[in-house]
Symmetry: C2
Subunit: 227 residues, 2 copies
Amino acid sequence: MSGLGLRRVPSLSRREHVAEILREAITSGRLKPGDRLVELDLAAELGTSRAPIREALRQLEQEGLIASYPYRGSEVLGVSQDEVEQVLVPIRITLERFAFGKALGKLTDDDLDALQRLVDDMLVAAADGEAERLADLDIRFHELVITRSEQRHCLQMWKTIQPRVRAYFRRDAPAHADPGDVARQHQELLDVLRAGDRETVLDAVEQHIHIHLAPDGPDGPGGHDVG
Amino acid sequence: MSGLGLRRVPSLSRREHVAEILREAITSGRLKPGDRLVELDLAAELGTSRAPIREALRQLEQEGLIASYPYRGSEVLGVSQDEVEQVLVPIRITLERFAFGKALGKLTDDDLDALQRLVDDMLVAAADGEAERLADLDIRFHELVITRSEQRHCLQMWKTIQPRVRAYFRRDAPAHADPGDVARQHQELLDVLRAGDRETVLDAVEQHIHIHLAPDGPDGPGGHDVG
DNA sequence: ATATGAGCGACTGTCGACAATCGGCCGTCG
DNA sequence: CGACGGCCGATTGTCGACAGTCGCTCATAT
């Protein structure tokens, strides 16, 4: 209801714009681990002053994409497999279990339709071999549900860890999942959401993230189960 | 001139100072949820320009202690019980399991001695009823081990979620743990660390955090005791 | 040749000023 | 009397300039 369909056109602040551009440059691999970031150069390149650049760099630092050293500039950081599998993925599971649970009673029919459209688009992207687009749709699917959970801290933490996961799989990990599977797994998750049984949803979320992001389990023999 | 004075320690940037002072003011409860933060006022009170203030506010925003609205300022946020028990504590467990595991082979005898001194001080603080000091020592114990793990991302994420946990227990939750128990539990954890058996350490870390921060269990039967 | 330390670039850290935006106030008009 | 719309104060967003710090270079001494 109240479906005025009015989308905010917030005309992002320069700071957010800069952060987005740099985040994309880093997660795409155009800026590689070890590359140096010089505020004045970035300011010139992006046509702003240093103030928004600095604030964007601080944010990327909080997201773990770069490191800054006083008076000596910033550099792009890498992401290790250990960190992704033992830290970032388990944290994502924690966050999404919580968020999906909170979102359960709040998802409207419109929301479910939007999610269905995302899944449909995933199938197309998978068929066309558009890995980038598939990953984007994947992110938007999860972000939509988390947004609907109305847990702002949760959404913020998710946005904080997500770029590193993305950077890892985009830069370092070989294509590891069948694109068709990604789409199908989201369809299953969506079906479970529609059904609406809480425990089933939470377990499905956990399985979904785990299979999707760490199909081989944690390192080595005697893999440890994340509870 | 309320208590927000800026002390001179030239080794830290003003931005870090401001962040530290505000973080302390918020977690201590001197600044309460809903309180407004005005950049110019803070700048005047702390004797700096707005630039460091702004960067500090961005950091506190990332830490979830405040929220900022474009052109309309910032306000202090509260922390819900759900969030602490279902999100922050599980994330802390994930982070510390990882960090303690990585630190296992790296802790020197000096480190273990330092940890023992912290535990000894905890006993004194507990006996004297100095809850603040006890909490400080608690934090320093965990932070030392995480630092030794040499997992910078991990330490950074820990520092990001820790203030909210602290704020919650300092502001909203009643004293729930026997101070003597806190000290004793750290002694046990340290003993396990000294022994050095990996699986035992990881389980002990999980138990330690869980018991210490969510003794009633996350989704227990009748767990709602706080109004 | 090696050690030392002053000087030099290249940056970041900080500052004060200006521009843009938001929400409320108030007069005007229906 | 209530809706509308333009001012106004408060506050943030952005900018350009200056000061401080670090690592490196290079002359100098041993």
